[in-house]
Amino acid sequence: MKQNYAFLDENSKKEIRRKTLKAIAIPGYQVPFASRELPIARGWGTGGLQLTLSLVGQSDTVKVIDQGSDESVNAVNIRKLIQDTTDVKDTIHTDEATLIQSRHRIPEVPLRPYQILVLQVPLPEPLRPVEPSERITKMLHADREYSGAWLRLFEQIMKYGSITDDADYPVLVNGRYVMAPSPIPRFDNPKMENNDGLILLGAGREKKIYAVPPYTKVTSLAFDDYPFEVESFDDITCRESGLTGVYMDELVDEETGETYYVANDTSFMLEEMNKEGSVR
């Protein structure tokens, strides 16, 4: 059976690329698109996958990450689908990749110019927790009325004494649109600010594409007296690699019951461990 290059038919890819261009032209604005059926279920990264499939060319090198790992079931299956339908090269090294599809992380290696990071997004609307109506949230975005997003953070301070959003922490893009950056940890929010690469965000189930173009101002929402802070891993060392200052997974040693930490970005960890003079 004849199969389309990159699974989707050419018209679908063209439509998604046009919507992507619009998203790049209006940083942070959610562009609706006709999300396609894919051989994976909605909610498993179909938004990101549609972006990747419509952008991938034969000269590309693709990397797929799922919560920092290149080897999880989700990452392996998505990578296999892309490879089976395109024959492009794949890699685990962030620096080698031209197109990176990621779930829940921005890699530790800074993006470089002309690199594209595609993030999978479950809930693209930052105002959804306070406003159920799509019609009204569109009006609120048009009017720059973001008190709902601020109110949610305020309520967390009232309830818990601090802002408790550890992932999907809302950001203001280019001084205009408040955006849900997908469930990346707070730790990754500052990486979006003025970065060299292009960040695209795709929500398949919610049928939205949005973007943070290179060198765009991205500010995490914060009150004057409750400034934005990332998770601190200052006093924590990765048990496997000896790395510090990177985003860590907290694990429990089943034999001793002790808590230990491992760097979340596995490819970065391996690269660091393989360097000459590495700690391990």
Binding site: A142, E145, W150, E155, D225
Partner: protein, 280 residues
């Protein structure tokens, strides 16, 4: 302070139509079947309503159910669009001849900074699942405040003023009685010291002792803060207690207006006479 003398709000020939209208009902002297056009069945919820609200004045709007009182309030607060007429707010500088013609963003600015609204049903005015403090902060955030300490200070002040125990400020209004919910609404509406407060049937559904508390509170606030108010009610006792001037509405039209004592002691229109004599 008023910029153009002593008029806080000015409304001229405001109408609200549910339907397209026709040449017959567009004529000023057209006879309607109650407020429905006999030719095109368009409902004239408000018809050519005009009034001025003076600074520091409490204006009562009285009439039976369906007379257009709440529709008028919704238009004044931009919850509904007016079909015809002009609306001028003294504290808002605009090149437009009527604030009805402003953008959604400008109307939100007026709602957030100049007007306060207390709805008949607190569900419309409050976020029932957010804490009372956050409900008050919502208005302040919308008006541009980004300092948690200042907002909680203001919240404490107004919750205390409306006799909500401060040890319940983190409780959501869903856990409060109807009277307490109304008082939280009043605290929210007052929190950024708006020059004009709109009160739509604020005591409906409350028991007599709570009604008296809420009315006493409104009087006290008006005395202390000198806020101009429009008070809608179908209860003449409330109008007598609170209002300096009163407008009587019937079938969407203002049929009589004047000093409250004059309206209640010497009603001229047959409907007003019936209303006054049937209640007093």
């Amino acid at each position: 302070m008023s910029k153009q003398g002593n008029i806080a709000l000015s409304v001229k020939n405001v109408s609200k139509l549910y339907g397209d209208g026709c040449a017959y009902c567009a004529a000023p002297d057209a006879t309607l079947d109650k407020n429905i056009c006999p030719e095109c069945r368009t409902v004239h919820a408000c018809r050519d309503v005009s009034f001025d609200l003076h600074n520091g004045e409490i204006l009562g709007v009285v009439g039976e159910s369906g007379s257009g009182k709440s529709t008028l309030m919704k238009m004044l607060y931009f919850d509904q669009e007016a079909s015809h007429g002009t609306y001028h707010i003294d504290d808002f500088d605009s090149s437009e001849s009527s604030v009805f013609g402003l953008s959604g963003q400008a109307k939100r600015k007026i709602r957030n900074e100049i007007l306060g609204m207390v709805y008949q049903n607190p569900v419309y005015g409050l976020k029932m699942d957010f804490s009372s403090m956050s409900n008050i902060a919502e208005k302040l955030i919308a008006a541009g405040s980004r300092n948690v300490g200042e907002m909680t200070g203001t919240g404490d002040h107004f919750l205390d003023k409306v006799n909500i125990p401060l040890n319940r400020k983190f409780d959501p209004p869903a856990n409060f009685s109807g009277g307490m919910q109304q008082r939280v609404q009043i605290a929210k509406a007052l929190s950024n010291y708006p020059p004009v407060l709109l009160l739509d049937e604020v005591t409906t559904g409350l028991d007599l002792s709570v009604q008296a508390d809420v009315l006493e509170l409104i009087k006290e606030i008006q005395r202390e803060m000198g806020i101009s108010m429009v008070v809608v009610s179908h209860d003449l006792a409330i109008i007598r207690m609170l209002c300096d001037r009163t407008m009587v509405m019937l079938n969407g039209e203002v049929i009589e207006a004047g000093i409250t004592d004059q309206i209640l002691e010497d009603p001229q229109h047959a409907y007003t006479q019936q209303l006054v004599y049937s209640i007093l």
